[in-house]
């Protein structure tokens, strides 16, 4: 197993270490000056390519797959009917649902005939893949933008129904609800055309705003 002989010619400039090193120093100096100037102009704590997390939060994509939320419809009724689709499709098996029958007089609270008596997502298990959102044909579960999930104990990282609905209410208040994704046009399907025109504002929405850096 002979290793091939390697012969490469070095140019004179390469041979002398210093030339390239000085060039390299030039590049790093440029970067340094750029950042230094920026910090002179915009205050000492800024560099154009750095988001300072707790104070200067970066705008994240509206469809970011963060902490889940359970949606309420316009009349404030819970959308989830505890059909278990999300549970079944979840690859991490982190959703636990208890189904309850809607009793007389409670219709104002729930949209369907059944509801989830408890709905727990083990966030520590969840891999935020979004399959549950896709599977739910009621549109009841949606992945929100929450990402500050760290906590001290395992129990604190299990999101129960209250927290999930709370997430939704907060997101609604702050106007951070996810834009509705139009159905994807399917080949050969008749309704592909119908789905077409409204496609203009598709997923993602924003014109790449939030892609700017720094302050």
């Amino acid at each position: 197993m002979g290793k091939p002989e390697v012969k490469r010619d070095y140019t004179l400039g390469e041979r002398l270490y210093l030339v390239e090193i000085v060039k390299g120093l030039g590049i790093t100096w440029k970067h340094f000056m750029k950042n230094f100037r920026a910090s002179l102009q915009k205050g000492p704590h800024t560099v154009p390519t750095c988001w300072q997390y707790p104070w200067d939060k970066r705008e994240i994509s509206p469809i970011f797959r963060g902490e889940h939320m359970l949606l309420l419809d316009e009349e404030g009724r819970e959308k989830c009917v505890a059909c278990g689709m999300c549970q079944r499709v979840c690859p991490a098996k982190c959703i636990t649902i208890k189904r309850g029958k809607v009793k007389e007089g409670e219709e104002a609270k729930y949209a369907g005939k059944t509801y989830c008596a408890s709905f727990e997502i083990d966030l520590l298990r969840c891999i935020f893949c979004g399959l549950c959102e896709e599977a739910c044909n009621k549109g009841a579960i949606v992945l929100g933008q929450g990402y500050e999930l760290a906590d001290f104990s395992r129990q604190a990282c299990v999101a129960d129904k209250k927290r999930l609905i709370g997430n939704f209410l907060r997101a609604k208040e702050e106007g951070r609800l996810k834009p509705k994704r139009p159905p994807v046009p399917v080949a050969g399907a008749k309704d592909a055309k119908a789905a077409g025109p409204q496609k203009a504002k598709s997923a993602g929405g924003g014109q790449g705003k939030g892609l700017k850096r720094g302050v």
């Binding site: 210093l18 790093t28 970067h31 000492p44 704590h45 390519t49």
Partner: protein, 346 residues
């Protein structure tokens, strides 16, 4: 008695000063490297994060002190001390300014102006090998030992060109006293150039700076602690303040070497074409010379940082062959040329 007092003040002052500079250097290095890398660096700790070294220090002070069971206890304990001591002591003979006159008494801004200052630096430099070797060997960890071996080989190899480069300086100035060397660099030479060592010894300076980087274990010669190869090198097993001494000693070394560069090659406290002592009062002149010297030193400190974050690292055998096959012949050549020119111009 008075002399003792002055000496004591100078000793304490320069010791504290070295300490402060080294501390600040860690901050400068971290912020500077961050800026170079489009980052921010520590900035939550005090204004501009300047208290970061302090926090690190406190953290290290209150960290548990582990002595590995396989370690050779005495050597393990001696390692950091033997590393830090030479590092801290080396500055004793380097001037940090010209002189200051207070109350009619002239005080030279140097801890000890000895007639062998030059060799003192070399001897102390040779001693710093022990700290690494003893620490690495004492840890009894393969990475440490490898780091220790590497660094020994590397440090001693570069001591030769280091010494030879300095030899040329000695030939030119004919003294071992660093203060006298600075005094020699006043004025101009050939009519227009400042009478600085760099212009008399351009090749020597390059050799010196390269070897200085090696002696300080800085990139591109940071093999003894090459993070990606041998974890943390010779100080893999060290934590708490012992580690602190190692890290600290490195910065002190950098400071000493930078000051040495200024002293030997960049005219110490002199500003070219301007004689500060002519128009400044004795006190002001002292302070000014101190500041000039310090600013020049800062540049070289910065250079250390700057180069560190620009170039990759050598491999062991490349360090060796660079040292022995390029630097030493070059240093000999330089010595020869210097001797020749001095002989001609005498």
């Amino acid at each position: 008695m008075e002399a003792w007092g002055v000496a004591l003040i100078k000793v304490v002052f320069i010791w504290a000063w070295t300490l402060i500079i080294a501390t600040l250097m860690t901050w400068v290095e971290r912020r500077g490297s961050a800026m170079i890398q489009d980052r921010l660096g520590p900035n939550v700790c005090g204004p501009f994060g300047i208290l970061q070294p302090l926090a690190d220090g406190i953290k290290l002070f209150t960290k548990e002190d582990i002595v590995p069971e396989k370690a050779k206890k005495i050597l393990f304990a001696l390692g950091p001390i033997m590393f830090a001591l030479p590092a801290f002591s080396a500055y004793a003979v380097i001037p940090f300014g010209d002189k200051i006159v207070i109350g009619g008494k002239e005080i030279i801004l140097q801890v000890a102006d000895v007639n062998i200052g030059f060799l003192y630096i070399m001897a102390i430099g040779a001693m710093s090998v022990y700290g690494i070797v003893v620490g690495g060997w004492g840890s009894n960890n393969k990475f440490s030992i490898l780091g220790g071996l590497r660094s020994t080989a590397q440090l001693i190899s570069y001591e030769v060109p280091f010494g030879l480069a300095l030899l040329s300086v000695v030939i030119i100035y004919g003294t071992f006293s660093l203060r006298e060397i600075v005094l020699h660099q006043q004025g101009t030479f050939l009519g227009f150039l400042p009478n600085w060592g760099i212009f008399k010894q351009p090749l020597g300076f390059i050799l010196f700076i390269v070897t200085a980087y090696c002696e300080a274990n800085r990139v591109p010669f940071d093999l003894p602690e090459a993070e990606s190869e041998i974890v943390a090198g010779y100080h893999t097993e060290y934590g708490s303040m012992r580690l602190g001494l190692y890290l600290f000693g490195e910065y002190v070394n950098m400071y000493t070497l930078s000051a040495l560069m200024v002293t030997l090659y960049f005219g110490g406290w002199h500003i070219p074409y301007i004689d500060m002592s002519k128009f400044l009062g004795p006190v002001a002149y002292g302070i000014a010379s101190f500041l000039v010297f310090f600013l020049k030193t800062c540049f070289f400190l910065w250079l250390f940082v700057w180069v560190r974050w620009t170039v990759p690292r050598f491999r062991y055998d490349q360090v060796m062959s660079l040292g022995w096959k390029s630097l030493i012949p070059l240093a000999l050549l330089n010595l020869f040329i210097t001797a020749f020119l001095v002989q001609l111009t005498i």
